[in-house]
């Protein structure tokens, strides 16, 4: 498999605090990679660096052979990187339908979008998407009326509408019921192969359900990498993250 995304020696420091320090990570095309680690390990910061929210102090981020490290966020997004944030961030005053239309961003130019009024053929596709995440009844309601779980679903739908090649998911199942978590896992498994996905997650059941390879971060760099059983057998991982209980019972 070809390498899709490669982080090498990536580092960022906030006022001297090294949130990410010498991070190396290779993700192949179509792979679903889970990123775990204790609080403060730098998982979210790593995603921030990839999508351009934070600029690295040193190191490189190569995506499809292109250097992303100093690119502006919207250009990184246009080159095919989509992101779901930890705190659900949808457009609260827009309706669900409008949220989806904004996320459907095949054309990003100002003037191209100025002359587009009303329904377009893709609107129907967006309705199917809303149906898929169970929000079809809420299409014309403002997103502020949705519950927390529904907001999570809307954000996942936004990612699907955006249809990025590389998808970064930051704790997609936070605040979800076990059924909803299962559904999210199903979606992840469906996307696998067509999209490259990096998931940051705490829910180990979910991680085992979806992840092929798990990367464990600790103090800003990579501690271990491997399949779930390999990682849970790793002595270092047990020490910093899992305690004595082990991954199987977490």
């Amino acid at each position: 498999m070809t390498t899709h995304l490669e982080l090498s020696n990536l580092a960022v420091s906030f006022n001297g605090f090294k949130a990410v320090d010498g991070l190396n990570l290779k993700v192949a095309k179509g792979e679903l990679r889970c990123l775990i680690g204790p609080n403060g390990a730098g998982k979210t910061t790593a995603l921030d660096l990839i999508c351009g929210k934070t600029k690295p102090t040193s190191g490189s981020i190569r995506y499809r052979g292109q250097e992303l490290a100093q690119m502006e966020e919207h250009l990184i997004a246009r080159s095919g990187v989509g992101r779901k944030f930890q705190v659900p961030s949808v457009f609260k005053q827009l309706t669900v339908r409008e949220n989806l239309e904004v996320a459907y961003c095949k054309r990003t130019g100002v003037f191209a979008n100025l002359i587009r009024i009303g329904r377009t053929p893709e609107s129907d596709g967006l309705e199917k998407l809303a149906d898929f995440v169970g929000l079809v009844d809420f299409l014309d309601h403002p997103a502020s009326y949705l519950s927390h779980g529904q907001t999570q679903w809307l954000e996942i739908a936004l990612l699907l509408a955006q249809d990025s090649e590389l998808i970064l998911l930051d704790e997609p199942t936070a605040g979800m019921t076990s059924q909803e978590t299962q559904k999210t896992a199903d979606i992840c498994n469906r996307l696998k192969g067509r999209h490259t996905i990096i998931v940051v997650e705490h829910d180990m059941g979910f991680v085992k359900e979806i992840g092929d390879v798990i990367s464990v971060m600790h103090q800003g760099s990579m501690l271990a990498e491997g399949r779930a059983d390999e990682v849970s057998a790793n002595q270092k991982v047990r020490e910093v993250y899992l305690g004595k209980v082990g991954i199987g019972h977490a």
């Binding site: 502006e72 992101r83 609260k92 904004v102």
Partner: protein, 383 residues
């Protein structure tokens, strides 16, 4: 209530276009009811101010750019028109090849270069739109590329306005200074004379206002308009969809400036002079207040807010009973609106539409919350 009516109420865009059309129609029919040229001039003035507020709603309400310098675009439009109309009086007042009267008083000997092109009316009309738009693009580009947001945008635009105002006052030899540009000729377009105190001027204002209103509505209904609203809600998130947020904000900022420029030109026609107060801080802040009272997230709301507040100010300040207290009454009205109607008067209308649209499903109980009403509506849609 019939089913068709409920479907109609549920379609926000359809309701919007209908209401906009009805209001514009009423504005056109108004002179049939009111046959008083003095009052028509006054209402034309309110309509022009309404245009300025509507333009602000486009940038503030839809894109979240609080432009405290809206009067700069307005004033520039106004001076462009005044310069052109002033030059038309030159052959009459100071003879062929002469100068505007205030330049003669200030010992200016030749017409400055930037006055020359205003001999041409089409140039002046174009300049009244293009100059504010151009300035807005430059200022907007610097601000929004540099990711200046929120209160800093307000401070920068306000400061720019003050600079413009001081420049006009300071360059008395070329601008008439404090006195502004007075004693103008009447605007003549397509063979029609636009006397400020006549139906023709009122209709000119009404036509321009309608065109600008529907143009702005089209912008808000386009996908770009939707993206602007997304920017207002969550600017950073929009970037991660690949949109260059800065250019979208520049778009809203400059279209708003262009409409304000048109309003400024009309203001000169209606008032028959241009004055530095047209790009003064008090007017600029008033525009913000009108917008807030009417509902900044509604173009029509902002427009009607301006007409209502400016109209009330006019009426109260002239009535003997309120001669001393009218500012207090206006102040109290603002406080009440801000406290109880965060979305202005337009918010009240939107609430009414939602309630009416929800009614046939099940009669919502008295005092039902909006959420409950919405739930009812959802049930109606599913069944």
């Amino acid at each position: 209530m019939s089913n068709a009516f409920t479907t109609f109420l549920n379609n926000r865009t359809a309701v919007q276009i209908t209401v906009y059309a009805i209001v514009c129609g009423a504005i056109f029919l108004f002179p049939l009811v009111l046959d008083n040229d003095f009052l028509l001039n006054r209402y034309a003035r309110y309509l022009v101010l309404g245009m300025a507020a509507m333009a602000l709603s486009l940038s503030w309400g839809y894109a979240g750019i609080l432009n405290l310098g809206q009067a700069l675009s307005f004033g520039i439009g106004s001076y462009c028109m005044a310069m052109a109309l002033k030059l038309r009086t030159v052959p009459v007042h100071t003879g062929e090849g002469g100068l505007p009267d205030f330049m003669v008083w200030n010992n200016v000997e030749t017409l400055p270069w930037f006055w020359q092109p205003f001999h041409s009316m089409p140039f002046a009309l174009l300049a009244g739109i293009v100059v504010p738009v151009f300035l807005a693009v430059i200022l907007g580009w610097f601000m929004f590329r540099g990711r200046v947001t929120g209160v800093y945008v307000a401070i920068i635009t306000l400061a720019t306005l003050v600079v413009g105002n001081l420049l006009i006052i300071d360059q008395q030899r070329f601008t008439g200074g404090f006195n502004g540009i007075t004693d103008l000729a009447q605007l003549e377009l397509f063979g029609i004379e636009f006397d400020a105190y006549s139906k023709s001027t009122y209709y000119l204002v009404a036509v321009c206002m309608t065109v600008c209103l529907f143009l702005a509505l089209a912008v808000t209904k386009s996908k770009a308009g939707m993206i602007l609203q997304a920017v207002r809600d969550h600017e950073d998130r929009v970037r991660f969809f690949g949109y260059d947020v800065a250019w979208y904000k520049v778009l809203a900022f400059s279209v708003s400036a262009g409409i304000a420029g048109v309003a400024g030109m009309l203001y000169t026609v209606v008032m028959e002079f241009a004055s530095p107060t047209f790009l003064g801080v008090p007017l600029s802040l008033s525009i913000v207040i009108w917008c807030a009272v009417g509902g900044r997230q509604s173009l029509l709301g902002a427009l009607l807010g301006a007409i209502l507040v400016a109209g009330m100010e006019g009426t109260l300040s002239e009535s003997e009973t309120f001669l001393d207290t009218w500012t207090l009454i206006m102040g109290a009205a603002f406080v009440l609106v801000v406290l109880f109607l965060p979305n202005g008067l337009a918010g009240l209308f939107e609430m009414l539409r939602r309630r009416l649209a929800a009614q046939p499903a099940e009669k919502p109980t008295e005092g039902a919350t909006d959420a409950a009403v919405l739930a009812d509506k959802g049930a109606a849609e599913r069944s």
